[in-house]
């Protein structure tokens, strides 16, 4: 039996995996990585709707500030909305869906393990997310907040720079920080688990350099999470102390609002310290939010181009390069913050250099398409669009990396455009591609391709309609986080574009109904998928769809090749799965 070759951990964890019987242990407090992955997926879809709705409030207020005011969307509601839109989308949607949902679901299946190394820890990492969500929601409901009716909510932006965040009244901001601490806790638990699983529980023959890019991306993402998240956690704990115990780490004595002084004379808090701690996490977090999507896209492009991934090793090294450089570029968020400008020069150079591995990835993706046999499934459409949109998101980053140009575009809509090209048309397109691609493995059914393509085209069109013009208004001088652009005479000329973007944003939000309909309808009415509906090579396609408890049959498959042997001359088919042994090699 080939399990004998597997590390002791794998055998041990398999021994614990009797099929759970009851509803609760099977579907709710499950320790099966696939169920936990799906729990993450369903939860993040729900939270994503919350975050998306908040974005609609934000867009409506910007485009029609007066009409919005009449509907009760005051500046306070606006501030809370964009704060929570970003917080929910980043902490409760993109990170958990990429790492929690896909990481959980895919890692053991792709490396040929029966489950995660620490199933209970895994379950915990999911169940910590609900208290986090609860705390975020509770922050809306605290009476203390500034907003009448809705209750309250943190209003200091997702970056929550002190002193604004440390002196704001009420409990909302404290609850927000607690929510972020919980999310961070979940991330750390997940990361420990993934790293152990990937390092210790690979199937026989699955060397590190035979792992699919998705696994590599999740592996390096986990390292980032493990190293960076504790820094965020400590920043948030300090922020909570700052608020409830009135410590003076970030808030100096000079801060006065109205007649009120917030710290005793002599307090020497440093607001800049928070920014350093925050961005030391949050810049790597940007890569946490894009690397796994890059992994998915690499796998999907190779599968549907029916061609080996171009430059497999350079792709891995570039992920490593992004992750490594990702730790020395955080200062580019702080060029205008009062940080020493000499330091700004150093951060500019490191930031420029981080564009390099990203460029290498783009060229390799293009190389993958070159000479392929491209099939335009919905997953492939999203993957190609990811490449195309990531180019925009990556190139616009160069403007910000250049310190003198950043003077002008820092804190403007140019930044908002950039982050949405990376996180919406980047990460989210990768996520959509992943859902269309692995849905058959998750549920044993195929999603409707026609609806999928409609969903793609509408999302692509309205996504660009919403975000591209933000570059224009940003370069044109519109700063971010203002509730009413009409308060500025020099911004009147952009109001038409703002309204156009808002209309596109509404359409974009509505387009996602197609995805939800497709997702739900295919659960019941989708066509049955075989074990390997896409004729793909990686190990997850060797088992049934959906995979049984324990993932594989009695024997763990043995791995004989790299993950991208498409169009191999050794076999008659245009793909050569990793688990298939080819005896006689033809030249």
């Amino acid at each position: 039996m080939s399990q004998a070759l597997v590390t002791p951990h794998a055998v041990e964890s398999h021994a614990h995996h009797e099929d759970p019987k009851g509803f609760w242990s099977k579907w709710v407090f499950s320790k099966d990585h696939k169920v936990i992955g799906l729990q993450f997926l369903f939860s993040t879809i729900l939270w994503g709707l919350v975050g998306g709705s908040l974005a609609m409030v934000v867009r409506y207020k910007i485009a029609w500030p007066d009409a919005a005011e009449g509907m009760g969307i005051t500046n306070d509601v606006y501030n809370v909305s964009f704060t929570m839109h970003a917080s929910v989308m980043i902490f409760l949607v993109i990170i958990p869906v990429l790492v929690g949902a896909f990481g959980n679901f895919l890692i053991p299946l792709m490396i040929g393990a029966r489950d995660m190394a620490f199933p209970t820890l895994n379950m915990l990492s999911y169940w910590v997310m609900w208290p986090a969500f609860g705390v975020f929601i509770a922050s809306f409901l605290t009476e203390s907040g500034p907003v009448k009716g809705l209750g309250g909510g943190p209003a200091a932006g997702w970056t929550s720079y002190p002193p604004l965040s440390s002196v704001a009244g009420g409990n909302a901001q404290t609850l927000w920080a607690v929510g972020v601490i919980l999310v961070g806790w979940s991330s750390i638990m997940g990361a420990v688990n993934y790293l152990t699983t990937i390092l210790r529980m690979r199937a026989p023959g699955m060397t590190m350099f035979r792992m699919p890019l998705t696994v590599w991306a999740l592996f390096i993402t986990s390292i980032l999470q493990l190293l960076a998240t504790p820094v965020l956690g400590s920043a948030m704990i300090l922020l909570v102390l700052e608020r409830v115990a009135h410590t003076s780490v970030f808030t100096p004595a000079t801060v006065m609002i109205g007649d009120t002084a917030f710290r005793p004379p002599g307090s020497v808090g440093q607001p800049l310290l928070f920014q350093h701690l925050f961005w030391f996490y949050s810049h790597p977090a940007v890569y946490i939010m894009i690397l796994p999507a890059m992994g998915f896209v690499s796998d999907i492009l190779a599968t549907f181009a029916r061609k080996p991934l171009f430059g497999y090793r350079p792709m891995i090294y570039s992920i490593g390069g992004i992750a490594g450089l990702g730790f020395v570029v955080w200062g580019h968020h702080m060029f205008q913050s009062g940080m020493n400008p000499y330091l700004g020069t150093a951060f500019m150079i490191s930031t420029m250099m981080i564009a390099l591995p990203s460029a290498v990835k783009v060229f390799n993706w293009l190389g993958t398409l070159w000479g392929g046999q491209i099939r335009f499934t919905a997953a492939m459409c999203f993957a190609i669009a990811f490449v195309s949109m990531f180019v925009i998101g990556g190139l616009s980053g160069i403007f910000m990396a250049a310190t003198p140009v950043d003077i002008q575009i820092h804190d403007t809509y140019f930044i908002v455009a950039h982050i949405h090209y990376v996180l919406f048309t980047g990460s989210l397109f990768g996520i959509f591609a992943g859902v269309y691609y692995w849905y058959p493995k998750m549920f044993g059914k195929l999603m409707d391709e026609r609806l999928g393509r409609w969903h793609f085209w509408l999302t692509f069109l309205f996504g660009n309609g919403t975000f591209f013009l933000m570059h224009v208004v940003g370069a044109g001088g519109m700063q971010r986080r203002i509730a009413n652009p009409l308060a500025y005479e020099h911004l009147h000329r952009w109001q038409f574009l703002n309204q156009f973007m808002t209309v596109c944003a509404f359409c974009l939000f509505l387009s996602q109904i197609l995805f939800l309909v497709n997702f739900v309808r295919s659960l019941a009415a989708g066509r049955k998928a075989g074990p390997n509906p896409w004729n793909a090579n990686t190990l997850e396609w060797s088992t049934t769809s959906p995979a049984p408890h324990g993932n594989f049959g009695p024997e763990i498959p043995t791995v004989h090749h790299g993950p991208y042997e498409y169009g191999s001359p050794d076999v008659a088919e245009d793909y050569l799965p990793q688990w298939r042994e080819v005896e006689a090699k033809t030249a």
Partner: protein, 266 residues
């Protein structure tokens, strides 16, 4: 507030994070007597029993050197406030009437009213933001009586209050066009709660919250009348935002009128 104050006092020495002796009052607005001190103190004050209610009348004077009214710089980028006041706007805190009478002062029963049963008026007190100033400058209301904050201005104001009497310690809400924030209710007495606008730093108003109706706001000439006072002995106080508070004992006869004059000094 209480809990965080406790943490503040308890944790800071523990954490050795700040050398901050005697700093607990920093969280309380300055220039303002922190909390209404009414109640059973003294024991000599209170209604004397039956009889028709009486009346307290009088005048609040200002003594001391004159103080010129100050013209405010009300330039803003949108120009709204300047347009609203073609002849300029002057600071409101010092409203000196003829003969040294002091307007916008509050005279109220500080001690002796705690035994009475008082109806809470349901009629709201309205504080209007009009032409980048608050009208009235001083508003008196009873505990439980609703306060409506109104804006008549087509520019952004924010209504900001902090302090122990404010529910949850802070109220900070923006109004970017004419409208109303209805039904703010104070549950604790407070002399006096400052209301201010961070967008226009000259804008401020004071809200005096009392547990009983035995109070009056002085007219421009400094005169005041408190009606329907049950006969008895009271400690009466006169308060003004910058000059502080001064007290006097007064005995109100059944069905009669008593005259009290106050002098507030700089």
């Amino acid at each position: 507030m209480g809990r965080s104050r406790l943490l503040y006092r308890g944790l800071i020495p523990l954490l050795l994070l700040a050398a901050c002796g005697g700093s607990e009052d920093l969280l309380v607005a300055r220039d303002i007597t922190p909390i209404y001190a009414g109640g059973s103190g003294g024991g000599n004050y209170g209604p004397s029993g039956g009889g028709a209610p009486g009346k307290i009348v009088g005048k609040v004077h200002f003594t001391g050197a004159g103080w010129p009214k100050k013209k405010l710089d009300i330039t803003t980028a949108d120009g709204f406030c300047i347009k609203a006041h073609a002849n300029g706007l002057y600071s409101e805190w010092f409203d000196l009437g003829e003969g040294g009478g002091l307007g916008n002062a509050v005279v109220y029963v500080k001690e002796g009213a705690s035994g009475g049963k008082w109806d809470t008026p349901s009629q709201p007190v309205v504080l209007d933001q009009h032409g980048c100033q608050y009208l009235p400058h001083v508003a008196v209301l009873q505990v439980g009586q609703p306060l409506v904050i109104k804006s008549s201005d087509n520019t952004l104001h924010n209504v900001h209050m902090t302090g122990p009497a404010v529910p949850n310690g802070e109220f900070n809400q923006s109004m970017s066009r004419p409208g109303e924030i209805p039904g703010i209710i104070f549950r604790k007495p407070e002399v006096a709660q400052r209301v201010y606008c961070d967008v226009h730093s000259w804008m401020e108003a004071f809200i005096v919250v009392l547990p009983h109706p035995l109070h009056a706001l002085t007219a421009e000439d400094g005169t005041f009348t408190i009606d329907n006072v049950p006969p008895g002995k009271y400690r009466l106080a006169a308060w003004q935002e910058k000059l502080g508070e001064t007290g006097q004992d007064v005995t109100v006869p059944a069905g009669g009128t008593v005259t009290v004059d106050f002098a507030l000094t700089r």
